[in-house]
């Protein structure tokens, strides 16, 4: 008996330790997690203070880092190697888990960490050629000795941090998911850039538009999906002269746009549910010239809109060496500052949205798929094997077929992960091409004038950005810039024929012929993702860009503004005027029959009519307007353009719909085909308004403060791991919205706001919705969120010497 008790107790103890030492599905290993010596307790941090002396092998000379009260490191190095080494080290110290997770995601390696639930996402990223593209880009970057040295130093810095980590000091996410950081490589820097390209330049309506064309034919398609919107105020002001001789524009094949009937149409019945690319990802930037500024020098503003996430997308840093002194927002995982300023210049970016992803129907010779037909000959198919490690399961091998166009994303019979990805087509994507974006930022960080800016931009490939620029010589400029494929008009609006060389990309638009405007007569430059140019630009970039409202509002305001200050720029960043409502309500309201509305619907209508068109958090007007336009768009188009996954299509834009309501109130599109009666616009208006009120009452109770815009919108800043509410900031009371200058929507918004006033000394201000630390246990994790929510900015400390004393410097780190 005694022995039985002994054995039983011993086994129980061992079993308990074993069970607590491992994770169970999504339940983490509680033993190491709860231990105050190794677990989450170790991740709790206090406000940083006290000087640090670090002995690191890897720096060539001592590096001094001054850290300010926002935990921004100001790095003073004696050479560029040490500078990028320190950037890698300090960024990893604050953001290691995020850096690795994002690059794992880009490489299609999440299954390694979270198991088979990420397998289809991993397969998708790999089949899109993310890893392949990163390898191409890395090879190109390493050809340049300067970028190679920079990458090596940055990588060594990250690894110097990783090397001294013990399990107790791993970021909390490793402890929760039960894995360990691996060594950083230069490839991961390339993967990070691919991730940005994937976020910003992987939009593709080719399949959806082809299906529209198949169903409705070219006339209707051209009518409902025009290549230039009715309302527009392009980035390059109308009337700007193109001072170059364009290359000959390639000839469209005779059957272009008509040949869709001949394109293969593989069954699209089995699709994974996946939302469309988020249209609210966009950005604003503008710069005013000396004529418009109160300082007599340019003032530049930028706020890139991305998914609101934690750890924050950006990491502030000042980098100082004998060759550079730059401050701004960097991307964890990439050397240099991406958006920032130095003593002479400031620059910023917004996304261009040019069409740089096209799909080609591939005709294989036979079932072996070893050759495909192109330019009247059989060409060899290359095979790339993707080995996807899956946590707790055997490795999955996936073979991807590569043509000269690019990878065949899904072969006939496979399921597509996203509904806009055609099955049986090869993707040609700018992300697959060799590129060296790093050298562009390296040069921008060191730029002194307009000529330096122009030179830096020539190196940049993807994701194409509207690079805005201002300098101390009082020049301002903006250029939609990146490597743009040379195409015939509308090439890539629909899917392409992979056998016909006329459908290939025909080289690229020369970098110096990318759209550009410098010191325009209106004394300001700006962009908000709208059309790059008006239709006079000789080259084709895309048929659709972001809706025009943000850009128009910014331009209207800037046109009126005189004696611009940093604070008036800040106010413009926080502008919540709803231009879409201003355009639409005068058209919508007269078309809405008020007879027949119930008393409470009448009340809602009165609210809408008395609304001042501002998307402030407490307003009810934007809630009613936003819900109504969504219901209205659905009521008009869903019967015609939503056939589910058998024929995925996209509906026409709001801009086109508004024109239709204005000019053709009797249009057949207003009829709901799914009902036996013929509906007319007034009925649709009233039905959709009623549905709006019903929906809002169901969700928020009867008309009142429950309908407030902030409640309806419910802005969240979420941790990168889905469902980690405890590490997220939820339900922020904040205004703005899609198409509003303050573009804070449910899940997206200004990921960094910056205003720089140039002059004898740059005065700069900025904030982002998060904090410098990626550690949820740090006081610097979300410490800037409230400032951001209020629309305020922090002064950015631009230091000129490591000896400087400033009240906001809390401590000093010396690296030896």
């Amino acid at each position: 008996m005694r022995y039985i008790v002994t054995v039983f107790t011993a086994l129980l103890t061992v079993a308990l330790i074993w069970a607590l030492n491992r994770s169970w599905g999504s339940i983490p290993a509680f033993g190491p997690l709860m231990s105050p010596f190794t677990g989450f307790w170790q991740n709790a941090e206090v406000t940083r203070s006290g000087d640090e002396e670090l002995t690191l092998s890897g720096t060539q000379e001592p590096v001094t880092v001054l850290v300010d009260d926002m935990a921004v490191p100001h790095v003073f190095a004696r050479n560029d190697h040490d500078l990028y080494f320190a950037q890698g080290y300090l960024t990893a110290r604050d953001r290691l888990w995020q850096m690795e997770f994002q690059t794992h995601a880009a490489a299609g390696r999440l299954s390694e960490v979270v198991g088979s639930r990420a397998l289809e996402l991993d397969r998708f990223n790999r089949r899109m050629g993310m890893g392949y593209g990163a390898e191409q880009t890395l090879a190109e970057m390493e050809k340049n000795p300067q970028t190679r040295a920079m990458l090596d130093a940055y990588t060594a810095g990250v690894n110097a941090w990783i090397k001294q980590l013990k399990p107790a000091s791993y970021p909390i996410e490793y402890k929760l998911l039960g894995y360990a950081p691996e060594a950083w490589t230069s490839l991961k820097c390339a993967l990070l850039l691919k991730a940005m390209t994937s976020t910003l330049a992987s939009g593709a309506d080719d399949l959806l538009m082809t299906n529209v064309l198949r169903k409705y034919g070219p006339t209707v398609t051209a009518d409902l999906f025009p290549n230039y919107p009715a309302h527009e105020d392009p980035i390059i002001p109308v009337g700007t002269k193109w001072d170059f001789t364009p290359l000959p524009i390639p000839k469209a094949p005779a059957d272009s746009g008509q040949n869709v009937a001949n394109l293969p149409d593989f069954a699209l019945t089995q699709l994974f549910r996946h939302p469309r690319a988020n249209p609210a990802i966009g950005s604003n930037n503008w710069a005013v010239g000396p004529e418009k500024s109160a300082t007599g020098h340019p003032i530049l503003s930028n706020d890139p809109h991305l998914t609101l996430s934690l750890p924050s997308i950006w990491y502030q840093i000042q980098l100082v060496s004998p060759t550079v002194n730059v401050y701004g927002a960097s991307l964890p995982g990439s050397p240099n500052v991406i958006i920032g300023f130095n003593k002479d210049v400031a620059w910023g970016v917004t996304n261009v949205g040019s069409d740089v992803l096209d799909f080609y129907a591939i005709k294989f010779r036979d079932a072996s798929r070893k050759e495909y037909w192109h330019d009247n000959q059989w060409k060899p198919v290359r095979r790339r094997i993707e080995r996807i490690a899956v946590k707790g399961l055997p490795t999955v091998n996936d073979t991807v077929l590569y043509t000269h166009h690019g990878p065949v994303v899904y072969e006939a019979g496979q399921k597509a992960f996203k509904r806009n990805i055609p099955v049986g087509y090869a993707a040609q994507w700018i992300a697959h091409k060799p590129s060296n974006e790093l050298i562009c930022f390296y040069e921008l960080n060191r730029a002194r004038n307009f000529a330096d800016y122009r030179k830096a931009l020539t190196y940049y490939v993807a994701p194409a950005q509207n690079f805005i620029f201002a300098d101390n010589n009082n020049d301002i400029a903006i250029s939609p810039n990146g490597r743009f494929p040379l195409k015939w008009r509308q090439q890539g609006k629909f899917m392409l024929d992979g056998t016909n060389p006329a459908d290939d990309w025909h080289g690229y638009i020369p970098a110096e012929q990318n759209p550009l405007v410098k010191n325009p007569p209106r004394h300001f430059v700006s962009s908000a993702n709208q059309s790059s140019t008006d239709p006079t630009y000789p080259y084709y970039l895309n048929w659709i860009f972001a809706p025009y409202e943000r850009g128009q509002r910014i331009n209207d305001r800037l046109t009126q503004m005189q004696r611009v200050t940093v604070d008036s720029m800040r106010q413009l960043q926080n502008d919540v005027y709803n231009l879409r409502a201003a355009d639409a309500l005068p058209i919508l309201l007269p078309l809405l029959p008020e007879k027949g509305l119930t008393a409470s619907e009448q009340q809602a209508l009165q609210q809408l009519k008395s609304w001042k068109l501002n998307n402030d958090p407490g307003e009810v007007g934007p809630t009613i307007f936003t819900e109504w336009t969504a219901q209205l768009m659905h009521a008009i188009w869903a019967d015609d353009f939503n056939e589910g996954d058998t024929l995925p299509m996209r509906p026409p834009t709001f801009d086109r719909t508004l024109t239709l309501m204005k000019r053709d109130t009797g249009s057949r599109w207003f009829d709901n085909k799914k009902t036996p009666v013929r509906e007319h616009l007034p009925q649709i208006m009233q039905q959709s308004f009623r549905a709006t009120c019903d929906t809002l009452v169901r969700r928020y109770g009867s008309l009142g403060t429950g309908w407030s815009w902030a409640t309806y919108k419910s802005t969240d800043i979420r941790h990168l791991i889905p469902g980690l509410d405890a590490f997220s900031v939820l339900d922020l009371n904040v205004g703005g919205g899609a198409g509003i200058v303050n573009a804070t929507t449910e899940r997206t918004g200004p990921s960094w706001r910056m205003v720089v006033a140039l002059g004898p000394e740059p005065k700069a201000y900025g904030v982002y919705p998060g904090g410098q630390s990626g550690n949820p246990g740090s006081p610097y994790y979300v410490n800037m969120v409230e400032t951001w929510r209020q629309g305020k900015l922090n002064e950015l400390l631009y230091l000129t010497s490591s000896q400087v004393r400033h009240a906001r410097i809390t401590h000093r780190i010396t690296m030896n």
Binding site: R2, T6, T9, T13, M34, P36, W41, A44, F727
Partner: protein, 121 residues
């Protein structure tokens, strides 16, 4: 009583360099060495570990103003209060310590008959 102090001291030292489960080895070893009764062994192991874990966790909690304790409470136990993370930490450490201590005593008793008869009751 002396066992508890031994376990506290040795486990704290061991955990500075070894994984969390080194608490089991310490509690096992000390109780194998010194314990005379099962209940006493369990209690020594439990308290020896629980007190160290409590003190260390409490120290971190207070020093960092409990910001992360609340977040972890929300994450693991759906409650922002610091009580549950602290309680679970203490009970978990204590339980492993106690069971390991008890195992130490039982194995010693099974291998060394001299211990088998309790000296007093």
């Amino acid at each position: 009583m002396i066992q508890i102090l031994f376990i506290m001291l040795l486990s704290a030292l061991a955990q500075l360099v070894l994984p969390w489960w080194s608490i089991a080895i310490v509690a096992f070893g000390v109780c194998f060495w010194r314990s005379t009764r099962g209940g006493q062994a369990f209690l020594s192991g439990f308290l020896g570990i629980a007190v160290v874990w409590l003190l260390y966790a409490l120290l971190i909690h207070l020093r960092t103003e409990g910001v992360f304790t609340g977040r972890m409470g929300l994450l693991l136990f759906k409650s922002e209060s610091a009580a549950l993370p602290l309680l679970v930490t203490v009970v978990l450490g204590g339980l492993i310590g106690g069971l390991s201590g008890l195992t130490g005593f039982l194995i010693r008793r099974a291998t060394n008959p001299a211990v088998s008869a309790p000296r007093d009751a």
